[in-house]
């Protein structure tokens, strides 16, 4: 892990990429519509097919972004999971920061002032 002191921030390195490989492989498969449909038909079976561990499966079940990240998920692959759920990056930001979506959008706008 590269040393850093940046709060609330993941430096997605080799350790993360090893830990999250199965979860990210599943999310990468969601580029294809047929795979998204297969996941929606039976989420558990799809997680099994990709070999997710218990922590990853629970995070998927709970739609919990911080837990998905803690389980080694990379945000760019997780975004494809979010696509299935019709969540955009403001929804994800609000969930991770514990804010309402409106408050999160206001935080973004405030950065410009």
């Amino acid at each position: 892990m590269q040393h850093h002191d940046i709060p609330g921030t993941i430096v997605y390195d080799g350790a993360e990429a090893q830990k999250g490989y199965a979860l990210n492989a599943m999310c990468y498969s969601f580029n294809a519509a047929a795979n998204r449909e297969e996941f929606k038909r039976d989420e558990d079976a799809y997680c099994t097919k990709y070999g997710l561990n218990d922590e990853q499966r629970a995070a998927i079940r709970e739609r919990n972004v911080l837990k998905l990240l803690a389980a080694g998920g990379n945000v760019y692959y997780l975004a494809k999971f979010a696509g299935i759920l019709n969540l955009n990056v403001q929804d994800l930001g609000a969930q991770q920061t514990g804010m309402s979506v409106e408050a999160f959008k206001e935080k973004l706008a405030a950065a410009g002032r």
């Binding site: 850093h4 921030t9 430096v11 990240l69 990379n74 403001q90 959008k105 950065a111």
Partner: protein, 288 residues
């Protein structure tokens, strides 16, 4: 000989592609961002490019963690736009120029950049959104050929700003040694500051972005003193896409002047930015 006439740096987030698909250019939320493209389009029209060299990053369409090249160069007759999983329209394929690609690849490797060459390559929003933004009337018939250069900004260790600057220099030398008379524009895409993940999600740093926008024009080598961790800290975890901009700037070997810039917060979770740079050889500068 091929000539790099200039460069355009631009945001590339998927939300822009969605706004284009939904014709939201004049929507109050989007207007301050899209208005920044008028001068870029005017400049591009008079620049008459034959080729766009696209410096961007893949976000999990063409590359996965199984094989993650630090630098990859496309060498195909065409590059596919594909479903990325969240409903952006798939665009017509982008024409390549395989002969120019192989010329660049040969020069880069001779210059000690051991890049990955790709004869089969899908290009995601990092490539497609800038094409859509800057050729809005193409109607799927892209007026230029393209050479994709993909930089790993997904999995650390990422290449350093200094390495990206040097890669840009080498790309510039490679293009300018190509014997065919081609007018080339380099695009650098992504950024500016943003962070999608972690409890710091929503981080935007206007002060740092404005420093980058100023410095990349007049003193780009100052940016090569930054580390990747500096970029993560100051620009956000995904703001590291600024590496694409540094590479683009490196490819401009002549006298560089700013034609236009726009900066607007927020577009989606990012600071949106556009920068148009003209590149003149010493001889052109004297004649002008």
């Amino acid at each position: 000989m091929a000539q790099i006439v200039g460069a355009i740096a631009t945001s590339h987030i998927p939300a822009i592609g969605k706004a284009i698909a939904e014709n939201k250019q004049n929507d109050p939320y989007w207007k301050p961002f899209f208005d920044g493209y008028g001068p870029a389009l005017s400049w591009l029209k008079q620049a008459r490019p034959d080729v766009v060299v696209m410096i961007y990053n893949d976000h999990g369409l063409n590359f996965f963690l199984d094989k993650m090249p630090t630098f990859a160069v496309g060498a195909a007759a065409q590059y596919r736009s594909e479903d990325e999983g969240w409903g952006l329209p798939v665009l017509n394929s982008f024409p390549g120029d395989a002969a120019l690609s192989w010329h660049i690849i040969e020069h880069l490797v001779a210059d000690e950049f051991d890049i990955t060459s790709c004869q089969d390559m899908a290009v995601d929003h990092g490539f497609a959104v800038p094409m859509n933004l800057l050729f809005p009337n193409a109607g799927g018939k892209w007026p230029v050929t393209t050479v994709p250069v993909s930089i790993n900004t997904v999995q650390h260790p990422l290449p350093t700003p200094l390495r990206c600057w040097k890669l840009g220099r080498a790309i510039g030398r490679a293009i300018e040694s190509y014997p065919k008379d081609l007018r080339v524009v380099v695009f650098g895409t992504g950024g500016l500051s943003h962070q999608l993940d972690g409890t710091r999600a929503g981080f935007i740093n206007k002060k740092f972005d404005l420093y980058c926008l100023d410095t990349i024009v007049r003193d780009p080598e100052a940016l090569t003193k930054l580390s990747v961790i500096d970029l993560v800290r100051e620009a956000g975890a995904q703001g590291v896409e600024f590496l694409n901009w540094i590479t683009m700037r490196g490819a401009l070997l002549g006298n560089v002047s700013q034609i236009h810039r726009n900066y607007h917060i927020p577009i989606s979770n990012t600071a949106g930015a556009t920068l148009v740079l003209e590149n003149r050889t010493a001889a052109q500068s004297q004649a002008a």
